[in-house]
């Protein structure tokens, strides 16, 4: 199912863009033709950019009355046949939680962008945070699995937004793009390739005719049902209730097991295919720094400083943050002396690392509540202490 981007949406060339704008460009390149959003700092630039660009590409931007409406309007658009995205931050992300669950339950491929700011509540609207990482994983009620990506530069904001759309189509799951205020507002060079160099995972329409088609029976890869859109004569039924393969509600434990088990397993059993991370100097290292988003760039500087003092330290940076690279971290735990987890919160992904390390090596957290990036000296200090050099 390989395809390339529709050139209509692709702004090929070298640009000087912030992460929010490059996210909008990534969406356009991925074939997104519907964005619904509500203004909220520091994510607003993404919808502003999309709203300015889409009329000459062919598609719609609508500013809805709130984030609840935005997060379900995109799902209506998906069932009309479009690719769709919503964009928000902090409090707006909280309002969207119910509809992340709806998209999971109805297997509606779509993208949610959260440009993280300091919280809780109104918190720090204009300053960065990374404290929505567990909300991304668990924020909607009920049990489910999710995919989330985490860029650390405007270039990656473009690349990973395209990737997010592709993953959402491949697994029929909402995919979250977890930006932070720094990456969102940081201007850097962004290279947008030619359309035929951008790989797109197209929507997988069903091969079944009406009458034979079962909307929630796996058709692809053993896990994923084929899609149809409203208006094609399939008379499909889609519900947020627990449903059978016909899409009909079934209120019993057996159907709950079949329905929700597949939603969880289609991600869990494919986790090793979905995970993505970048490693630096891990071979031969005693210590691995784990960081993501803007924090990874500060942590990188601290790692370099520590290496200049002779510490054998490397770095693991997940770019797909959910599912987390469990297999890799478990394996590294047996070889390393310590993990140093750096994040702009008081410990979220840290607890995943601690769980996966399972006592085989030390785990250290360098965390704070957001508002500014880390001081590299503070990270360095923890690396040095973990190495027994301070």
């Amino acid at each position: 199912m390989k395809a390339t981007a529709d050139p209509k949406g692709v702004l090929t060339g070298e640009h000087f863009l912030d992460g929010d704008w490059s996210c909008a460009e990534g969406a356009l390149a991925a074939g997104c033709r519907f964005v619904a959003g509500y203004p909220i700092t520091p994510s607003t630039e993404t919808v502003e950019r999309f709203g300015a660009r889409i009329p000459t590409v062919g598609g719609l931007f609508i500013q809805m009355e709130d984030e609840i409406a935005s997060s379900i309007a995109i799902q209506g658009a998906v069932w009309s046949g479009l690719k769709a995205m919503t964009v928000t931050s902090g409090p707006g992300f909280s309002l969207m939680m119910e509809h992340i669950g709806l998209a999971v339950m109805t297997e509606t491929p779509c993208v949610f962008v959260d440009v993280q700011r300091g919280g809780p509540s109104t918190g720090l609207p204009t300053l960065p945070g990374q404290a929505d990482m567990m909300q991304a994983r668990w924020g909607s009620h009920g049990d489910y699995e999710i995919i989330a990506v985490c860029p650390n530069s405007p270039q990656e904001s473009f690349d990973l937004t395209v990737h997010a759309f592709n993953l959402s189509e491949q697994y029929r799951v909402p995919v979250l793009v977890m930006l932070d205020e720094c990456v969102g507002h940081m201007y850097e060079k962004v290279v947008i390739p030619k359309a035929d160099e951008i790989e797109i995972f197209p929507r997988r329409w069903t091969a079944q005719p009406p009458g034979k088609y079962l909307p929630f029976q796996p058709e692809y890869d053993g896990w994923i049902p084929g899609m149809v859109k409203a208006g094609d004569g399939y008379f499909l039924h889609v519900t947020g209730l627990t449903h059978d393969e016909k899409g009909y509600p079934q209120m019993n434990a057996e159907c709950q097991e079949t329905c929700v088990r597949r939603l969880v397993d289609k991600i869990r059993k494919n986790a090793d295919r979905i995970v993505r991370y970048e490693e630096t100097s891990i071979a031969g290292a005693d210590i691995a720094v784990i960081a993501y988003g803007i924090t990874s760039r500060v942590a990188y500087a601290a790692m370099e400083m520590a290496r200049s003092y002779g510490v054998k330290v490397g770095m693991l940076r997940p770019t797909v943050i959910w599912p987390f690279p469990e297999t890799r971290i478990r394996k590294l735990a047996g070889k390393l002396k310590a993990f140093v987890v750096v994040e702009m919160n008081y410990g979220q992904m840290y607890y995943e690392v601690e769980r996966l390390a399972a006592g085989k090596c030390e785990t250290h957290l360098v965390g704070h509540g957001g508002g500014t990036v880390h001081d590299p000296e503070v990270i360095l200090d923890t690396i040095m202490r973990a190495a027994g050099k301070r």
Binding site: K83, F235, G240, L241
Partner: protein
């Protein structure tokens, strides 16, 4: 039994519209929702739009279950949010006729904000709101439509909040078609549905319906048939009545009729007009008839 054993059961007129494999439905004996669905089936047969081009979106609640029984593309969404879902669906494919079918709690309590804004934008959709004055599925709680003095489980000594006058609300927000009927007005309701479905823009029909299980029982109003008798004796058809005069009281008159039927540019008319005006040839129109059908990109 013997006498009828060889007689093939005649298909009900509504059968082609229903997911017969989902029956029996969950609605209580005497409930008015089924009667409205029957009207809807007749309206679909009469409206002249191919069935595959009509989609139904429901929220949560008793009326929210309509989407699960109609044999159309049907979406059973979250509580209060069928209208924004329908907004995405209708704008995404302007060829579809989107009908939101839900209850009073769903449409004007939790979903009230979306109702206001979809009417203001004049997004093309028909909203059918079955108003039974109460939260039925959760067991009889007070609603923003419960008449003053009427009892509910969360208003055990009688409701003391003034209820919404839905046609007034719809008109004020910009709906281009507004009607109110009761579950007894089968033909009127059907005709209104045909008109609303064929209307360009945001159309709204309120249908007052009995809830014998909770509303009538809590208020000692008898069974479903008693409620229909009450509607017959106490409803009055006043087409074109001023919507501000349509308040509903506990045992007072229910004014029915078609109150609004006006023309106004839809959301897409305005969007295409403004963007074309400013961007000229650079604008790629959306949902505008062209030689190849409607201009619209679908990946």
């Amino acid at each position: 039994m013997k006498a009828t054993a060889n007689v093939k059961k005649a298909a009900h007129l509504a059968e082609p519209l229903l997911r017969m494999d989902r029956l029996p439905h969950i609605w209580c004996p005497g409930c008015g929702i089924g009667a409205t669905v029957n009207c809807f089936a007749s309206a679909l047969a009469k409206c002249g739009i191919p069935r595959e081009k009509i989609a139904v979106v429901s929220g949560i609640g008793c009326t929210g279950r309509v989407a699960g029984y109609v044999k159309l593309d049907s979406f059973h969404t979250t509580h209060g949010r069928p209208i924004p879902f329908a907004t995405g669906l209708a704008l995404g494919n302007p060829e579809l006729k989107v009908v939101v079918y839900s209850g009073d709690g769903d449409i004007v309590a939790i979903g009230g904000n979306h109702f206001m804004h979809a009417a203001r934008r004049n997004v093309s959709m028909t909203v059918i709101c079955v108003n039974n004055f109460i939260y039925g599925m959760t067991g009889g709680q007070v609603a923003p439509t419960t008449p003053e003095e009427a009892r509910a489980t969360t208003a055990p000594y009688g409701c003391y909040e003034p209820p919404f006058n839905l046609p007034f609300l719809a008109k004020s927000c910009g709906a281009v078609y507004v009607a109110r009927w009761t579950a007894m007005h089968i033909r009127h309701t059907t005709n209104s549905m045909v008109e609303a479905i064929n209307k360009k823009g945001f159309s709204f029909i309120e249908i007052i319906a009995p809830c014998p299980t909770v509303y009538s029982r809590l208020n000692r109003l008898g069974d479903g048939l008693d409620m229909l008798k009450f509607y017959r004796e106490n409803s009055e058809i006043r087409n074109g009545a001023a919507t501000e005069d349509l308040d509903i009281t506990f045992k007072g008159k229910i004014i029915c009729g078609k109150f609004v039927d006006r023309e106004a540019p839809t959301y897409l008319d305005r969007m295409n007009g403004q963007l074309q005006k400013v961007l000229k040839d650079r604008y790629v129109p959306w949902g505008v008839p062209s030689k190849t059908g409607l201009d619209r990109c679908v990946s």
